[in-house]
């Protein structure tokens, strides 16, 4: 299949504006600016069926429509580049290899929604990305794509990079906004949503890096064209970062709806040493696990939801028969315990309790009743304040349900069966 999102990344010096322009860069933006009204742009994006790639899958056109309809000024356009989930490294490719696609996507979005200022909220651990983005932004200023009265129009847009300080929760859009305001990174009550009351309580669009990289394609080739790629109700190309026990880990661009099995076995080359696949977390660290019987599922938002899990960021983590499922779940929930902001009870306390129970089970000190307790803690965590806590328990609860035997083996055997000692 034709590479769309990754069309530039193999080119030498793909991060420079010269290479980007030579490949047709900023044409979509100029088309939008000169030939289309902001409403036309919103319509085109709605037509494309694009859904946000940050995890929640919210229709991008609709988000823009809400923001455009709000009359408060000034408005802000924020690119969420906080990519902080374990095993998710798809945005990084765009940030480092194709930063101008991101900037162009933001420009089009800002034009469509009437935003005057833009920020790229960049993960603190991406220092190279920061340099590349800052350089790309200054190139864009030099070429007149950023600043006041861009290309002689009355559209003005200034863009800045804002580095995070290493908190995963700051990827959540309202925590991200709090952090941008210089406050402690904690999510806000919604509603109001950022599109109406975001940064400095002004209308603010927050979009993921990958979401924005799709925009120039949609404007250049049309929403209709885009909507025909991949799954009909969730179209477009998608970046899948694949990690774990596969022969060729990496980021793969494939149409939405590609079967999980195909991604693992064809694109990522199958399981290392041709072992048996045991389990897959199909949509990042907080998705529910799939067993080897369940991997024929198409990789898109609705299909995975139907399969009882989620697409999330699209990060695929593969475990083979030599991996301990309890240990895997423990690792993941430890991450969330560490990253929980602590605002709400279920997540703050639930993650810690789950870690402690799983540590005991893994260490051979579990009791059978623990499993029931785990499931009820997971249920309580469903009522967390934000998406972190609502999803953090998934890897634990789903493995207890689907790999109960393995948990029981730990409990009854008094040790982890995967450990020699």
């Amino acid at each position: 299949m034709e590479k769309l999102l990754l069309r530039n990344v193999e080119k030498e010096n793909s991060h420079t504006i010269e290479v980007y322009l030579k490949g047709g860069g900023y044409r979509a933006f100029q088309k939008a600016l000169k030939e289309m009204s902001p409403e036309d742009v919103v319509e085109e994006v709605k037509l494309s069926g694009l859904r946000g790639r940050g995890g929640a899958g919210f229709p991008t056109g609709l988000k823009w429509e809400f923001a455009a309809a709000d009359i408060k000024e000034p408005k802000f356009f924020v690119c969420n580049a906080d990519e902080g989930e374990p095993c998710t490294f798809k945005d990084r490719v765009i940030i480092e290899k194709d930063p101008h696609a991101l900037i162009e996507g933001m420009l089009i979005g800002a034009y469509a929604t009437g935003c005057r200022y833009g920020y790229i909220y960049l993960r603190g651990e991406y220092p190279i990305g920061r340099k590349i983005l800052e350089r790309a932004i200054s190139e864009a200023y030099q070429k007149g794509f950023l600043g006041e009265n861009i290309l002689g129009s009355d559209f003005s847009f200034d863009l800045y990079v804002h580095s995070g300080a290493g908190a995963y929760i700051c990827g959540e859009e309202t925590a991200l906004i709090e952090s941008m305001e210089g406050k402690r990174g904690e999510p806000r009550i919604k509603p109001p949503f950022p599109v109406n009351a975001g940064y400095l309580w002004k209308p603010t669009v927050v979009n993921n890096v990958e979401t924005l990289a799709n925009i120039p394609l949609i404007i250049e080739r049309g929403g209709k064209w885009y909507s025909q790629i991949g799954s009909p109700d969730c179209p477009g190309p998608k970046l899948f970062p694949v990690s774990g026990k596969v022969k060729r880990p990496g980021v793969y661009e494939l149409p939405m709806g590609t079967k999980l099995e195909e991604i693992i076995f064809e694109h990522a080359g199958g399981i290392v040493k041709d072992r048996k696949l045991k389990a897959v977390f199909p949509g990042g660290a907080s998705s529910s696990v799939l067993t080897s019987e369940e991997i024929s599922v198409p990789m898109d938002f609705p299909s995975l939801a139907k399969a009882g899990t989620m697409l999330g960021s699209g990060a695929i983590m593969v475990l083979d028969e030599t991996d301990c499922i309890v240990n895997a779940a423990l690792r993941l929930i430890k991450f969330f315990r560490h990253e929980s902001c602590g605002k709400c009870t279920p997540c703050r306390e639930g993650t810690d309790w789950l870690v402690r129970i799983l540590e005991r089970i893994e260490g051979g000190r579990g009791v059978e009743e623990d499993l029931e307790v785990v499931l009820s803690v997971c249920e309580t965590m469903e009522n967390s304040f934000c998406g972190l806590g609502m999803a953090a328990h998934n890897p634990v609860g789903s493995t207890v349900r689907k790999f109960k035997e393995e948990y029981l083996a730990h409990i009854k055997g008094g040790k982890c069966p995967f450990r020699s000692s």
Partner: protein
């Protein structure tokens, strides 16, 4: 306002736009458990214990953040809801210390009650209890983080409602804990209002003066009125067997106009009752010394000395209305009082309105724009400043302030006009025209823009803080009353002392030089504090009624102990009408009891007449090269607490002279000169002090300050001064 219906647990309930489901439920007697929610605070949605089921919503929703919508159907008692609540409470209890037997909150702890009602009945926790072991101790407040449930009420209370932002969270997730800025209350700017302690649902934020002192369930709880300033706060005094253990505000429950908000004086100053300086028996002069006598003897001497003599009456204004009435009856209606400056202000106002009175404080709530005139309201009447702030952040009022010095209120005000002190009256006069005439131009854009924000709005006026003590007090009163009168708006004149209004109503207040009597009678006063700059007139005999061994006791011939505010029953004429005092404490002495033995002078009450002039005031302050001095008692100062409360002394301020940082580059010792009197004082540059002004902050009015102010009574502000090299 238009209402609509929602259904909660099958009951049709009336709801208004903006209501949360929790509020509607509460109004209808449906109890939903809460931890982070507090009536006085912005909803946080953090604890997740108030979950309810909403028809059509897949997830449970927190009632405290959920806005009621027409035809919403809510269930608060399904099995799913009960399980979810119990689940949350279980998570909190797992690592909670459960030190109930020794926890000060036990018995009124919301975790105990909510846990009892909605918690799991059995623990499933097999892990070792997690300990944070982070206890942060301030002078009066302590945080025990192992008891904290991280509801964040304290943070919102301090940061948003009080505007102090002392408290915050450090670390994250299960390691998160509450701390004052830099781990230190004083450094963090804590004003010791006690509001955080008040709203903490558990025993985490503690009143150190109460720590391990008693059990909440066995104390007598008495609602009374704080007598320590004109805010007139309603307080709950908790005592056991007649001994006070603490004072609490009960924010959100308190029915007084202060809504339970207090200041450091009201919250912690109660211990003056037990001060070592407390006077317990009458003293009578014998030669060079004072000797103890019994009450019969004291009354006998008193009667004899007063017989047929005219008295010089010095009155402090936190006496009850009943005491004041009796005092007037036996000593006559002429007095020198610490309410003299306030009287001048009211006289100015009365020249427009005809009445020596104030509008009720609550009248500001029916206006849209509140015009505040005065500086240092937060020092003189702290809770009034809090209520003004809350009027903005909770009730959406617009606040406009005119003054000379910056104030914490300015962070919530819609606009703030800061002008040199001598221009206050002129500024008001511009507003008198500009507010009603859109074509008027004052020559000052800021004034014009304030005039515009007042124009056509439903206004109310508040004057207080240092204004009663300003040399222009009466003229300012006339001018602001003229403006309020033209706008048809209420004018609230904040009394500096608890019963200033009654003193003004009952007594003919005079200049000290007008006292020509033969017997000095001082009631409840401390000469230097209440009458700075005034000398005791020479007289044949001096009687002092006082709760404490005050400095002037040594000059007295007869000293008679009296009660403190918390020991009295009676009333005040306060900012919100009549406020009542109640007490279960007993004292062996009583002012009213003693006065009973004195003959009545039989003065008939007459309505005081102030001629109606209906003219704005005239500027009094004209300044050449001098600085204008304001002497400001610290928040902890101002009344007996700063002299006799061991609690309050722990957080007391210091004496310093603040000067504009362009006029003084670095701290140094200077000589402050008023007319021919001088005071050596440490001067400190301060950007918030406007040029041409000097601010002398004092913790106590001592002899040297009183000497500096000689002849200026009742004024503390707008006094011409010079700074000389020390």
């Amino acid at each position: 306002m238009e209402s609509f219906k929602i259904v909660i647990d099958g009951k049709e309930c009336e709801a208004f736009a903006g209501d949360t489901v929790l509020e509607v439920a509460e109004r209808n007697g449906i109890v939903i458990p809460v931890f982070c929610y507090h009536k006085e605070l912005r909803p946080e949605g953090a604890c997740r214990v108030c979950l309810v089921e909403v028809e059509g919503a897949p997830r449970l929703v927190t009632a405290c953040t959920l806005k009621a919508m027409p035809d919403m159907v809510v269930k608060t008692n399904t099995e799913r809801v009960k399980r979810a609540r119990a689940g949350v409470i279980e998570l909190i209890l797992n690592n909670h210390t459960l030190e109930c037997p020794i926890c000060d909150k036990s018995g009124e702890c919301e975790l105990q009650m909510t846990g009892f009602r909605n918690g799991p009945k059995k623990s499933r926790y097999r892990e070792k209890r997690r300990e944070k072991d982070i206890v942060i101790k301030g002078p009066l407040i302590e945080i025990d983080n192992d008891r904290c449930i991280l509801c964040r009420r304290c943070i919102r209370m301090c940061g948003e409602n009080m505007g102090n932002r002392v408290l915050g969270i450090l670390n994250r997730g299960y390691k998160a804990y509450i701390s004052p800025f830099n781990g230190d209350f004083l450094e963090g700017g804590c004003e010791h209002c006690g509001s955080c302690v008040d709203v903490c649902p558990v025993g985490s934020l503690l009143d150190r003066a109460f720590k391990y002192k008693d059990r909440p369930w066995r104390m007598d709880k008495t609602w009374t009125t704080c007598s320590l300033c004109g805010s007139g706060c309603t307080i709950e005094v908790d005592s056991y067997h007649g001994k006070v253990k603490r004072v609490v505000g009960r924010i959100g429950v308190n029915r007084g106009h202060n809504k339970g908000y207090l200041c450091v004086r009201g919250k912690w100053g109660w211990d003056i009752i037990y001060s070592e300086k407390r006077l317990k028996e009458p003293l009578l002069r014998q030669g060079d010394s004072l000797v103890k006598v019994d009450f019969e003897k004291a009354v006998e001497v008193l009667k004899e000395k007063l017989e047929g003599r005219e008295v010089n009456l010095f009155l402090e204004s936190s006496l009850t209305s009943e005491e004041l009435t009796k005092i007037r009856d036996v000593f006559g209606g002429k007095a020198v009082s610490d309410s003299y400056g306030y009287y001048k202000l009211l006289r100015g106002i009365a020249s427009i309105t005809g009445a020596l009175n104030t509008s009720l404080f609550s009248s500001i709530y029916s206006s849209d724009v509140v015009f505040v005139l005065g500086d240092f309201i937060e020092e003189f009447t702290p809770v009034i400043a809090t209520l003004l702030r809350l009027a903005v952040i909770q009730k959406g009022k617009r606040l406009i302030r005119l003054g000379t010095f910056p104030s914490k209120l300015d962070s919530v005000s819609f606009s703030t006009l800061l002008v040199p002190q001598e221009e206050i009256i002129d500024t008001l006069k511009h507003l008198i025209v500009g507010t009603f005439d859109s074509s008027y131009q004052s020559g000052n854009k800021e004034i014009d823009s304030v005039a515009k924000s007042l124009r056509g709005k439903k206004l109310s006026f508040v004057v207080g803080g240092n204004v009663p003590f300003s040399v222009e007090s009466e003229e300012i009163g006339k001018t602001v009353a003229f403006l309020a009168d033209r706008a048809g708006a209420p004018l609230v004149a904040i009394p500096p002392k608890a019963n200033s209004l009654k003193v003004v109503e009952l007594f003919d207040l005079v200049e000290p030089s007008n006292l020509k009597g033969e017997v000095n009678v001082l009631i409840n006063c401390e000469l230097e504090r209440d009458f700075p700059g005034v000398e005791l007139p020479s007289a044949d005999f001096t009687v002092i009624f006082t709760p404490f061994y005050t400095p002037e006791v040594s000059q007295a011939d007869l000293v008679i102990p009296i009660e403190l505010g918390l020991e009295k029953r009676g009333t005040f004429k306060g900012i919100e009408g009549e406020l009542s005092l109640d007490s279960v404490l007993e004292t062996p002495f009583s002012l009213l009891e003693v006065l009973k033995y004195l003959p009545s002078k039989g003065i008939s009450s007459k309505e005081k007449q102030v001629p109606l002039i209906k003219e704005p005031g005239k500027k009094v302050l004209h300044r050449k090269r001098e600085l204008l001095l304001t002497v400001l008692p610290n928040r902890t100062g101002w009344n007996s607490v700063s002299y006799y409360s061991e609690n309050v002394v722990k957080v007391s301020g210091k004496r310093e002279l603040l000067l504009n940082s362009q006029e003084l580059r670095e701290p140094k010792l200077v000589s402050l000169r008023v007319e021919n009197k001088e005071l050596q004082v440490q001067a400190v540059p301060d950007a918030s002090v406007p040029k041409g002004h000097a601010l002398l902050r004092v913790e106590r009015f001592t002899r040297d300050i009183s000497s500096l102010l000689r002849g200026n009574f009742p004024f503390l502000s707008g006094i011409k001064c010079e700074i000389l090299e020390a």
